[in-house]
Structures are given as C-alpha cells and as structure tokens.
Symmetry: D2
Subunit: 323 residues, 4 copies
C-alpha cells in the first residue's frame, strides 16, 4: 500500500510535496524512490520526525505498528494519515487517539471506499432527504478469491480485515450502529477452520435512527470483486451497482453475455486512493477537519469486535457491550 500512495502522490497530487520515503526494507524504498525521482530514503522513521520541514506523515505499515507510530508522529506535531485498521486492540487505539488529541494534530484513517464516486452519489441522494428516511441498508462485499493462507493467518479475521470496510460504509451511509448480529461459517476454504476464521457471513445491523441493515461477505466471488450497496428509504431507494471491466455485450443463441467485474480492489478503488490523500492534504493545507477521523477508525473496529462476539455467542450484541 505504501508504494501505491507514493506513486499516487507523485503522479496525481501535485499540490503535495513528497520529500521522503521510509521503510525498514531500505532497498524496497530505494527502488520506488528511484522510479519516481524522490531524493530522500530512510530506514528509521524517527529521522523524519526530527525534520521540521515535514508537515505530514502517511502511515502504511503493518497493522501492529500503527498505534505506536501514530503516537510518535503525534508527539512530533505532524499531521497523520493512517491506513485502516488503526489497530487490533482497542486499548492501543485509545492510547493513539489520546496522543493525537493531546498533540492537536489531524488524523485521517484510510477508509478509501468513502471516496468512491458511486457510493458518494448514493450518500448524496440519501442525505438530501429527497427519498425520505433510510429504512434498510444492504451491503454486498465479496472478494474475488481467498487470499493466501499466510496472510489469512494474521489478517485479524473476517470482521476486522474485510467487514471493517463495510462497517465504516454502513456508518457513512446510515449513521451510528447500536447492535449487531453475525452469522456465518466456512463454506469455501476448509483450511480456515484451523484458526477459527470464516469465509462467508451475514452481519445484521440496528441503527440508532431505527433503520436496519445487512452486510453479506464472501471470500470468493469467482466473477470478480463484487461491491454493491442499497439504501432503501421510505420514499425511494438508492443503489450502487458494480463497475464492469468493459461494456461489450455478446449475444448468441444462449442469450446475452457481458464481462466480469474488475478483479480486485486496486482496480475498483484506484481513484479513491488518490482522492483520500488529496483531501487529507487539502485539510492539512486549509486547516479543516479530516473527512474520516480517529473516532471513525475506532468505531469500525468496535463493530468488528461486536460482530465477532455475536458470532461466537450466537446472539445480538449491543455496541455498548464493547470497549
């Protein structure tokens, strides 16, 4: 993810001035820097924190390191963009957010899907009130294939690795969640049972405003990266359908045949990765609040915990029971 952000900044966000890349694998950082003409490459991020010319830091390291890096960067008084999830442990998140608040710096969490033009259009329609109050949310979020098992063993599990995006989207579209109920199991990849993960689930949501919702997830949608949602309202509905790989349609005696949907998140959400950082930089420049803050980052993790508890105990879990 780090190199994606670096390329995006250099190529598509001219208003940002990328001054240095940091990676403990120095050769990896150097290769990217060479490709893009970046002068400074460091191995230890503390070096950069000491540089008064650096205004903001984008953190795209492995999840377990997020919280302590945030704390260090906040202490150094720099603005922060951090990839999701903020951390796996709520206590770590709370400490990091406290440091951010104390330092008075900005924090944006990398829920890139909020910047998808179709999801934004849905929110715009719903927020305008023109189709009444939200009643039912349905999010379909399915990966094209099970990631490799090495990753899966450390992914944090379905709810914190994958559904976390949908929890954030649910809050983005409809508002605060009060209760969740999760059901699911292993229907695709039996190896997941070894470490207690699942590949298929439905999580239902009760929102504070009375609306109800369902998220369905699968690790294997063989026809592509299936990302859809609907916000059904009292006077209409708003839906975001999938993009398509191309718009060609073939007809033959068997019927009509159209292309798959784009294969993976980098294709589908490519413009979102640019836009989220562009907006972050704009917020820093113009001293505005970031569009997704630390509490948003925390709330999605809390929902992940609640869903996990619900699945284990087979009962609806109130969000207030967590953390």
């Amino acid at each position: 993810m780090g190199s994606v952000h670096v390329r995006n900044i250099v190529r598509h966000i001219p208003e940002a001035d990328l001054v240095a890349i940091c990676d403990i694998r120095l050769d990896v950082a150097q290769a990217v820097a060479d490709e893009l003409g970046i002068q400074r490459v460091v191995k230890d991020y503390h070096e950069l924190l000491a540089d008064p010319e650096i205004e903001a830091v984008l953190i795209a390291t492995s999840t377990p390191t997020h919280a302590f890096i945030i704390k260090d960067v906040a202490k150094a008084g720099k603005q922060i963009f951090c990839e999701k999830p903020l951390a796996m442990e709520l206590s770590e998140i709370d400490e990091a957010l406290e440091a951010v608040e104390k330092a008075g710096v900005k924090l944006q969490v990398g829920f890139n899907r909020r910047f998808d033009k179709s999801f934004q259009k849905v929110k715009e329609i719903v927020s305008s009130g023109e189709i009444g109050r939200p009643c039912i949310l349905h999010i379909i979020s399915r990966d094209p294939e099970v990631p490799d098992m090495d990753f899966m063993r450390v992914s944090g599990g379905m709810f914190l690795d994958m559904t976390i995006h949908d929890f954030d989207m649910a809050r983005f579209q409809v508002g605060e969640v009060e209760e969740v109920y999760a059901m699911g199991g292993v229907l695709i990849e039996p190896e997941l049972e070894e470490f207690g993960d699942i590949d298929t689930n439905i999580v239902t949501l009760k929102f504070a405003n009375g609306a109800v919702g369902a998220i369905d997830n699968s690790r294997q949608a063989v026809y592509g990266y299936d990302q859809r949602l609907e916000v059904f309202c009292s006077n209409g509905t708003a839906m975001a359908e999938n993009d398509t790989e191309n718009t060609a349609v073939k007809a033959n005696p068997e019927g009509f045949h159209a292309s798959r949907i784009p294969h993976f998140f980098m294709n589908r959400y490519a413009p979102c990765y640019v836009e989220e950082v562009r907006q972050f930089i704009e917020c820093v420049r113009e001293d505005k609040p970031t569009p997704i803050n630390g509490q948003d980052g925390r709330a999605a993790v809390v929902l992940g915990y609640a869903a996990g508890k619900s699945l284990r105990e087979n009962r609806p879990v109130k969000i207030s029971e967590i953390g």
Copy 2:
C-alpha cells in the same frame, strides 16, 4: 383471488373443466359465472362435495376457513388446491394435513411465486450445480404501498402475511431452514404500532446445508413492487432482477431515466397464478405429487412463527423450538 383463479381456468387452462363456483356471497359468484358462462353457482360448498362428478376443489376463501374446508373436502375424497397460508394456527394446519393424508388426496398450496419464470431459472442454475454450492441467499420483497388498515388489522402480521412468501421461496431455492433471527420496526406507518405489526424488517436464515440468508421486507416501495433475489454460490451467483413496466429509457442532461417496476402482485405474478393451477390439474390428471405440498405450506407458517418469536425476544430462534 377466487375470481382470478376462475377467470384463469376458463380462459387459459382448457384442459380443466370448471363446473361450479361457490361463494357465501351468492351474487358475487353469480356475476363471475355470468361473465364466463359457468352454469352452476352454489352458496354452500357441501353441496359440491356431494357431487361425484367433481374431482378437485380450489379453496380461495379467507384464511380462518381454510383448515376446516380442507378437512371436509379431503373427507369427500376430492383433490385440493388451497391458497396460502394454510391457517394461522399450527394445530389447525396439523389437523387439516392429517385429514388429507388419511383421505389419500392431493393438496397443493398456492405459493404462486415458485412458478415465476425468473425465480425458476435461478433455481435451475443453482440446482444444476454448475455454480457450486449455495452460500448466501438474499431476497428483497417489498410491497408498493401499505395496504389499508382494515386489512392490516387482520392480516396476521408481517411475517405470516408477507414474509411467508419469502420463507417459501428461501426453502424452494436453498432448502430447509434451521434457525431464524428477525429485526425490524415501524418506519413508515405509525398506525401499525397500535396492533403490534411492523412495516420494515430483515430476517436472517441459517440453512441446514450451511448457507446463510437474509430476507428484507418493506410495506412501501414507492417505485413499484420490488421482488428480487440472489443465490450466491461458491463458483458464481444467480440473480433474478425485477421486471419493468416498459423498456423505454429517456436521457437528458440529468442522466438516464427508466420506468417504474410493475405496481403490484397481480401484474408481476399474473402468469404464475395460471401456471400453478395448470400444474395442479396436471398432477391430478396424471396422478403425480403436487409441486408444493402440505408440508411446504406448514413449513412456511412455522418460519413465520419463529420470526415473530425472534423479533419479540430479540434472539435467534431455532425452528425446532416451534410447534
């Protein structure tokens, strides 16, 4: 519904010989009979049961009368087609089914949606195994507008009046359900609260084969009678989209604009009402089992009860807890 079936039989099922109509409102029956050239009209159905020439009876009376009429017709040794639901009380259903079994007659329940060509195509795709095992079922089933309150007060409530069709569809598409969890409330029509009904809900389902499902219902989809479903499987997915009122599309500077979906069940499911009776008559003629039997009729009611219990107690309810 009775007059719909009568017209369908006379106009579209020439292999059936409709010999008499019975209605306690004799004038209503007479008007239909006159329109269609039917000779015999009676007020008391027992009259017809005594007629040895009558082979089968189609029951489209009010729900509370279904069970005892079934018992009488079964005793008379005639084949039975009965509208859904079989009854509101499980004990009544059980007595009726016992009578049917004892008499050795056929019983078909009027779950007309099973005869929808798109839902049948989905089932055909899924049953063929070509897209793997079912993982996630999602049924969207939304009425265009809240029926009038006089009906709503005696409708049996959301789960037995409306969701019952979706419970049957879930069993038709994926198989037996083991557990349900229901959530919902009043988001559209406050008057429903007076008698404890709801207008918006999500019911999740755990199937015996490991699949999970969600049904979402609303009493008010202002854009038409919204009837969709998806059976997501391990190697693909199968969906049934809505029909449209017409295929005209207008484009202007605001975008593309297409027609509403057909307004109500009589438009959407019109061919199903013909086909279900046509197949019933074929089963009688050729002495085959009916496509939807008494146990199917009972199972949908049991799911309705379980959903009601789940909503009241806010917990997942096993089907084995009911009846």
Copy 3:
C-alpha cells in the same frame, strides 16, 4: 392471425360481441368456434355482410384478398379492421380506400406495434417536446430466423413483408418521410437470390421535418426477436430496449449471462394484438377516428415501393416518385 384475433376478442375484449367466424376452410373455423363457444361459422363472407346485426368486420385473410373484401365490406356499410399490408398493388389500395371513403365507414390497419407500451412511451416522450426536436431515428428490427422458403416466395419481399412495420413505426415516431435510400443483400440464406429477395438491409430516411433515420433489418437474429428503436433529439434521447424472456442473470468466471429475448412476434407483441382491436372497437362504439387509418396503411406500402426502387437503382428515391 385470424384465430389469434378471435381468441383475444373472446377472452380479453368483453365489450366486443363476436357473433361469427368466416373461413373458406370451414373445419378450421369450426374448431376455433368450438373451443371458444362461438355459435355461427360460415364459409362465404357475403353471408355475414347481409346480416344487419353485424356492425364491424375484422379481415385477416391472405394479402391478395384484402382489397376486394374491404370494398365489399365497405359497400355493406360495416366498419373495417384489416391486417397489414392493405395490398401489394397501390392501385388496389387506392380503390379500396375510395370505397371506404364513399361508404363513410371506418378502416383501421393492423400495425400492431404502434400499441407496444415501450414504443408508445418513446413517442410520448418525444411528442411532449421535453427533449427537443427529433434529429436521428434508428430502428432495429430483426427476425429470429428466416421463415420457410414457401412463405418467402410469396411474402412480397423484405420491404413489403418486414420493413413495412418499420416504415409505419418511423412515421409514427417522427412523421412523414420524403426520401429513402436502401442498401442490402443476401448474407444469410443464399436461396433468397433465386427470387430476388434479400435478408439484410439498411434503409435510410429523410423526414419532412429535417430529421434523418436508419432502419436495419435482418432475417436471422439467433438471440431472439430483436426490436429496438431510438429517437435522438436536440435535447436528449428516447430509446426502447428489448424485453427479456426472464430476468435471471448468472455470473461465473466468464462474466455475466442473461436470457435471450423473446423468440417471436407473438410473444413480444401479444398485448398489442389485443389493444389494437380493443381500440378499434372503442372507436366504432364511440364513433371516433381509428388510430391508424387507410392513408397510414397506404403510406407504408409506398415507402416499401420506394425502398425497392432505391435498392434496384442504387440511388436515393423521393417518395413523390412513387404512385
């Protein structure tokens, strides 16, 4: 076609009173009459013309007989519905129309497609003026398969048998045509060359209002009966897409797969056959002008002649050159 109309009238147009069927093949007529409970069957239509109780006559005989039957029926003072085309010879059409005018009876021609709800919606959008003036018309009209050669030899050729519907649709949607240019050939069925017919063509149209148009036809669309049109206007566009056999969609690793379009005109246009006769009867009852009159029937034949001439001479042909 005769039996289609008879069934439609009996089953779907209760306001009409069908009193007799006439067919020179008396047994065919008798079979239909028996099926539908019609009392009177005759072999010679003159018998019916003498009956003062008969108000209107629907003519669905072979094309060469249309003109003289129209003349006889008109002389008998009865209202007339006649299948398209009115005749193959313009002189016969002119004589028939003269007889109709002289008798002061109504004449409706069976251009059933004008009653298609999607084509009507397009016309309604365009006529309202909300998307500006018509600029470009495109009609796609393709049969699913080449009819058998016995029929093709007497069909009148592509332009008078098949394109004639599209000529009428062009006039219905955009208005009078001033010039046509036709191109095409035999790309599907070589046997057509024996009698100078074609199976593939494009006919362009110049309308009196300045708009331009193209009709494309094929005798073999293996994916179903392809019937689409677009009226592109100065401030938007209006299109009618195909209906579908069902709305099921399957996705697998190859992409998305939807059903064929309905196979033939009886499926696609079934409701139009009812509606055109229903409106005819309404016009008779309420003494209103018919929606498609004799001049409309003549104009489509003239366009067919012009297209034929254009194809033979490979040049644009003005409509004023014909007849």
Copy 4:
C-alpha cells in the same frame, strides 16, 4: 493534445524516455516541462531531428503542419507517431507517406479509439468467428456539445473532424469500405450553415465483404459523450455500450434514474491515449509494425472526402471515385 501525451508518457509509460518537448510557444512547453521534470525544451523541431539520441517523435501539432513535419522527421530517420488526421489534402498525405516509406521508418496514426477495451472486445468476439460473419455495423458517435465556432470554422467539417474516427472504427471492426452514402443537415446550431458545415448526419457504408453499415453523428448529445457500436453477425451480435459516470441508481415514484455518461473524450478515452503510445513505443523497441499505419490514416480521410461528395451530390459515392 501534446501535453496529454507528455503527461501520459512521463507518468504511465516508464519504458519510454521522454527527452525533450518542442513547441513554437516556448512558454507553454516550458510550463509542462517544469511540472514533469523534463530537462530539454525547444522551439524549433529541427534541433531535435539533429540529435542522434532521439529515436522517435510524437507529432501533436495543428493538422496543416502534420504532413511537412512527417516528411522532415522521416528524412531524419526517426520513428513517427502522428495525431489524426494526417492532413486535409490527400496529395499532402501521399507525399508524407512516400517520405515515410522511402525512409523506412514506422508511422502510427493517433486513432486512439481502437485501443478502447470495449471496442477491442467487440472486435475480438467478431474476429474469432464465433458469431458468424459480419452483416450490419452501427456506430453511434455523438459529441456532448457543439464546439465553439472559432474551432468549427477550421475543423475541416463534420466528416473530416468527427466522422473520421468512426470511419476508422468501421474499417477496424468490419474491413474495407467500397461505397458510402451521406445524409444530414443543420438541426442544432444554425450558425454552421454560414460555412457549410452540418451537425447531424447518417453515413451508410457498403463493405467489400458484403456487410452494410450506418454511422450516426450529432454535435450535441446533452446527456454526455455517446459512443456505442454494434456489429450484428449471422450467428449473434456484439455491442459496446457507454461507460457511465458512476453506477448509482435512484428509484422514486417516477421510476429509475441513473447517471449521465462521461462528458467528453478525455474522460471516455483516457486509457486509450496511454495505450496507443505504449504500443507505439513497443513497436519501435521490438521493431514490429505499428497497429495503425499510414494507409489507415489515409483511408479514413478518403472516406471523409467520399462522404462529403455524397452529401453534396445526394448519391452513393464509390471510394474508387476519390483520390
């Protein structure tokens, strides 16, 4: 266009080494060079031709300069990518192509739409033969709004400025054209009449392989940049539909509402501008023939001339009549 190509090369085609920009407006070139970190900026292109390190030249100057620059670049022995059209005068094109041939250098013409993934997919389907032989081509190609009149006066007219892309696409999809017939007029912007241009037209095509085609063009599609095509074949059809701005759909009591299509060519064809240059560079590197050569560039201009002649003389014009 020049700056688009420069940005694309620097950002998306790392295998190319962009060494210099040339523009007679030196300040414009300098600004782009500064933005992208390009070292060398020149005003006179002859300077670059003398540089032995420069292997290839991309020409994106105004059309009247194309031919003589091509000749100079060819003489200097460098590979050439040139924007369309090659020139307005056939004699100039012929001289330029002669120079290219004599010098033995490569020439690629910038018909970017050939690199559109959907149009390519259609070609792939048709070329595979799986749906039989091409019978009917239909291209819809409509600009979102009339360009400003200053441009229109020097644009070369509808056929050479706009339809030229569609002529190339027709050849790309179906093959050589033998005859065209053009009709059209001014339905949108009366000012065009002053200099004899049109804003609306249909051009029909007869292909050497017997297929027929129609291109329709408009200068004003208020709902977006409308770019569609269909290749109807003897055993099926292949279509490319429009992309959409986003996939959000709103439903309300009026029906379903979707977004406009992307507004202009830079949005719709953005990836094509990268891909055409990427392939050109690959052809240079690997010494392969370019995907679109000088004869392709010439053929599209010839078709434009033939269409103009056809419109003026209102008759079909054989391609052999031109040049």
